[in-house]
């Protein structure tokens, strides 16, 4: 995404392609699986419509979830996140989201495209989605923390060194996608793949548990700093969060595959 051109500038829509829409959608996650909806292959169709005058560009994105029963709350989050992601592309004026074959597709499609709040689209819901999103972000943070900590253990850091790390200790090298960490009087340093650390930072920031550049990087489930004596137990708890999200991903992948075979008519239903 360039992000530099003013949105809706006449003539700029020529740069909007299916690929640029997909790239924007990379950042939209299935909140339960903590994976991109692009990677999960939920997206069925992307249509870019330009008004004859060339002054308006509308993007229509249709997606299908692994079951008609997928949580309407999660479906809503993906639909609204996708709408904002597409509308943030330079040259796109508006996005229309179409959730297909879902038990609540009408409520979701109407509500999301009209920009209404969840509680209005579903009057019988007991409120908004903030709490659900916070819970899912929290679980994703724990799972990502597991990966980040494993990477640091593999690189040779000790539990005591890991619990004492702060964001300020991370030295990002943009040339080789690695993060360097120097300890003590900089006499000892390690280098790790940047991805797991950055993915952790992103979710920890979303959850709001990073308090400052020189405060502890990793946290207990409740957000407190980690006492070294708790390190191993915490590692196991975060491991179970990781296994959970992986397992559910496996279930959804299989359901997704079966459902698509049925819908495409290659199955036996």
């Amino acid at each position: 995404m360039s992000g530099s051109e003013p949105t809706g500038q006449p003539g700029s829509s020529g740069s909007v392609t299916e690929q640029s829409v997909r790239t924007a959608l990379d950042s939209v996650l299935d909140p339960e699986l903590d994976r991109s909806i692009v990677e999960l292959e939920y997206i069925e169709e992307i249509t870019i419509e330009r008004a004859p005058s060339g002054s308006e560009t509308n993007v229509r994105m249709a997606f299908l979830l692994p079951t008609a029963w997928c949580s309407p709350a999660f479906a809503w989050m993906m639909a609204t996140d996708a709408k904002s992601a597409i509308e943030s592309i330079s040259g796109v004026d508006s996005a229309e989201i179409v959730l297909r074959d879902h038990m609540h597709e009408t409520e979701i499609n109407t509500g999301v495209n009209e920009g209404r709040p969840f509680g209005e689209a579903f009057p019988d819901a007991d409120g908004g989605l903030e709490a659900v999103r916070a819970t899912l972000d929290h679980k994703a943070r724990l799972a990502r923390q597991y990966d980040a900590v494993e990477a640091l253990l593999d690189a040779g850091l000790s539990p005591a060194q890991i619990v004492a790390l702060t964001p300020a200790d991370l030295d990002r090298d943009t040339d080789d996608d690695r993060i360097h960490i120097y300890l003590g009087d900089r006499s000892f340093g390690v280098s790790v793949d940047a991805d797991p650390i950055e993915e952790y930072l992103e979710m920890a920031t979303a959850e709001g548990c990073l308090t400052g550049e020189t405060d502890p990087l990793f946290r207990m489930p409740d957000g407190d700093p980690i006492d070294e004596s708790m390190f191993e137990l915490l590692r196991r708890r975060t491991r179970s969060a990781k296994v959970n999200v992986n397992s559910q991903g496996t279930v959804c992948d299989a359901l997704n595959e079966s459902r698509r075979e049925m819908i495409e008519g290659t199955g036996s239903r």
Binding site: K139, S240, V243
Partner: protein, 355 residues
């Protein structure tokens, strides 16, 4: 009875159904979507050559069920877990009374659990008494996310629920099977959140709480609660079939469960007819942890552990003396129909793995 590596394996399938999702019985679109979704679970985790057609799957009946369970002698007993869903199906999906008829027919082979919903109030308590009186039930299935009128579900740790759990304790209905599966409804909450099991389990130490589907997709929360509450068990329905084509993921799940709960608090379940024990039991027996998983978790998933999960743990919860039971099964109608008596009469005379 199955013989595997020279050992008799007594199998109690802890989670089975006999449902009717025939076109005639489907009442609403929800009923159609429900069985469609089940079928996707079936095809997603069943070897291709063992998949059923959708028509077979909609309604299979008693004879098909007994063929699947006892035709190759792999299963010894099954525990029915009712799922009423009266909103979706005219005569219900898988009801206590219909399942009870199967127990009447094959009393040594099947156990039927009751069910309750605290929102039924006084009438619900009376219904629980009826279920106990008619069939001396030892367990009950509960479905906390079921909608009822304006209610979008209920919690096991609510006052109303505690009244029913107390009733269960008084009546000796000691095994509470809580369905904790994928999030569906109510809309803006996690209806199958496992957090409510915690207080219920610590408040009723005389009851056992079997969390079906091991709480997936809340395996982490489930394990953490179960590690602290000794009367919380995990039912492996949905998790077990991952052994088919996702063995690595299955190994991770088993590693977590054995690490946090140990080998005495896990129950095998096929979720029949979601999956069929006629192949699933053997798949489960053959599953192994990788060396890496073995090192990471430090747990034992050998034959003795598998025997506990496949039958011994359920026997403990349902007061079944396995040795006595073998003698009873040897002479029952199923053994006669499927010529199974020999495998109960002598030790290690069971069905042999066809590998």
């Amino acid at each position: 009875m199955f013989t595997y590596e020279g050992e008799d394996i007594f199998v109690i399938d802890g989670h089975i159904h006999m449902w009717d999702a025939s076109d005639e019985n489907i009442k609403t679109e929800g009923g159609q979507q429900f069985i469609d979704c089940f079928y996707d679970y079936h095809t997603g985790f069943t070897p291709e050559d063992r998949q059923w057609t959708f028509e077979e799957y909609q309604q299979y009946g008693a004879d098909r069920l007994t063929d699947d369970f006892f035709g190759n002698g792999v299963v010894d007993m099954g525990i029915f877990q009712p799922t009423h869903l009266q909103e979706f199906y005219h005569d219900g999906f898988n009801t206590f009374d219909d399942l009870g008829a199967m127990v009447d027919r094959y009393p040594e082979r099947f156990i039927v659990n009751g069910r309750f919903d605290p929102r039924d109030g006084e009438a619900g308590l009376e219904e629980l008494e009826r279920q106990k009186e008619e069939r001396d039930i030892l367990g009950a299935k509960v479905y906390t996310a079921e909608w009822k009128g304006d209610s979008k579900g209920w919690r096991l740790d609510s006052d109303d629920s505690f009244e029913f759990l107390q009733k269960c304790a008084d009546l000796g209905i000691k095994n509470i099977h809580a369905h904790k599966g994928p999030t569906i409804r109510p809309l803006n909450k996690d209806a199958f959140d496992v957090g409510d099991v915690d207080l219920a389990a610590s408040s009723f130490p005389e009851l056992n709480f079997i969390v079906e589907h091991v709480g997936l997709p809340r395996l982490d929360d489930f394990c953490w609660i179960a590690a602290q509450e000794p009367n919380v068990y995990g039912g492996l329905a949905v998790a077990a079939p991952m052994a088919v084509n996702r063995p690595r993921k299955f190994g991770e799940i088993m590693g977590e469960l054995l690490y946090w709960l140990g080998e005495d608090r896990l129950l095998f379940g096929s979720d029949y007819a979601l999956w069929n024990p006629d192949w699933l039991v053997e798949t489960f027996l053959e599953a192994e942890l990788t060396d890496e998983q073995q090192a990471e978790y430090g747990v034992d998933f050998g034959l003795e552990t598998k025997k506990k999960i496949l039958g011994e743990n359920a026997a403990e919860l349902y007061d079944i003396d396995i040795e006595q039971k073998k003698r009873d099964l040897e002479v029952d109608a199923i053994s006669e129909e499927y010529d199974l008596a020999p495998m109960y009469s002598d030790t290690t005379g069971g069905a042999v793995a066809d590998d």
